[in-house]
């Protein structure tokens, strides 16, 4: 396996591991902005998310009761989805137009 391939596959596996396994152990306390909004009071002005009932809302898969599995599967879907979207997107960005080559 080339050094290049090894590096990218390694990075991808680390990301899968973090989003699929480690994510279960993440702190569930409110994040900085949420905490400030709670303390000061403007949390009341927040509206529900448009996709609050979506299949993957809040990093959980609807229908999977086990919390560890739910967040893990959501994380894996997110990593693969981001890899596909970002991979295709940056490939297009990096493609040099034929005209400028001449």
């Amino acid at each position: 396996m080339s050094k290049n391939r090894k590096f990218y596959i390694g990075g991808f596996i680390v990301s899968l591991f973090l989003a699929g396994i480690v994510s279960f152990y993440a702190s569930s306390s409110p994040d900085g902005l949420e905490k400030v909004a709670e303390d000061i009071g403007f949390i009341e002005t927040a509206k529900d998310h448009t996709y609050a009932d979506g299949a993957l809302a809040d990093y959980g898969v609807k229908g999977i009761e086990n919390e560890r599995a739910s967040v893990g599967v959501a994380g894996v879907i997110g990593v693969i989805g981001t890899a596909v979207v970002a991979g295709v997107f940056f490939k297009i960005i990096a493609r040099k137009p034929e005209k400028t080559k001449r």
Binding site: K3, F7, Y8, G10, G11, F12, V14, S15, L16, L18, A19, V22, S23, A26, S27, S28, S29, P30, D31, G32, L33, K35, V36, A37, D39, I40, G41, F42, E44, T45, A46, K47, D48, H49, T50, Y51, A52, G54, L56, A57, D58, Y59, V71, A74, G75, I77, G78, V79, G81, T82, A83, V85, A86, G87, F89, F90, K91, I93, A94, K96
Partner: protein, 224 residues
């Protein structure tokens, strides 16, 4: 620091959609000049890694958590233009698939994290790198310091938006103190994760790292 819908009024949110569109448009152009077939996959992997690590909230102080933004990390790994794009891709995935970050607030969040945090982080990185000796550990240290500053920078962006268009009527100065205070602390976590990640990539594939390549280019010019 994903802003939910409702915190900031619609006109302000719309204005920041415009500003973010200009910034991302510029990044689309800029990234074409900085990315090539060799570095494009790293930009993709950077987005993937940031998505994964953003799921890992770490405790900060009692009852509060924080997670990586990844703006300085991305700027050092793939350059600021591609970093803006990578962060934007992550924010779009999170908002549309995972209901994280309001849809009408997307312009606000993109502005804070994909633009302000990336460019402030990159500027700090360049300044620190200049004063330190020219070696790999300096690049990692400069990236860490840049990361530490990039988080309160994004919080400052939110504060500006709050001052312009908050729907609530709470004191601007209280929001400033709390937002900057807590995000300085979250910035410490950001600095650690960024430093470790940049060191790891430098150790295995330094030839791909934007913030290190430039360093070598500068040296080559001096040597001539």
């Amino acid at each position: 620091m994903h802003i939910p819908d409702g915190f900031i009024d619609v006109p302000t949110s719309a204005a920041f959609v415009g500003l973010s569109a200009i910034g991302v448009g510029a990044a689309l152009k800029g990234a074409r000049t900085q990315l090539d077939d060799k570095t494009a996959p790293l930009a993709g992997l950077t987005a993937v890694f940031i998505f994964a690590v953003q799921m890992l909230n770490f405790p900060v102080v009692a009852g509060t958590s924080g997670h990586l933004i990844g703006a300085a990390l991305a700027a050092v790994l793939v350059g600021p233009w591609a970093a803006t794009l990578a962060l934007t891709v992550v924010l779009l995935m999170q908002a549309f698939l995972f209901a994280d970050g309001g849809l009408t607030a997307l312009g606000l969040s993109v502005f804070n994290m994909s633009i302000i945090s990336v460019w402030v982080g990159y500027a700090v990185f360049l300044v620190i790198k200049k004063i330190l000796p020219k070696n790999k550990s300096s690049v990692a240290v400069a990236a860490s310091i840049a990361a530490a500053v990039s988080v309160p920078a994004a919080a400052f962006g939110f504060w500006i938006q709050y001052v312009i268009g908050a729907t609530g009527t709470f004191s601007d100065s209280a929001v400033f103190t709390s937002m900057i205070g807590i995000h300085v602390l979250i910035g410490i976590g950001e600095a650690i994760i960024t430093g470790l990640t940049v060191s790891a990539v430098l150790a295995s594939r330094s030839d791909l790292v934007f913030g290190w390549k430039n360093n070598q280019k500068a040296l080559e010019i001096k040597n001539v």
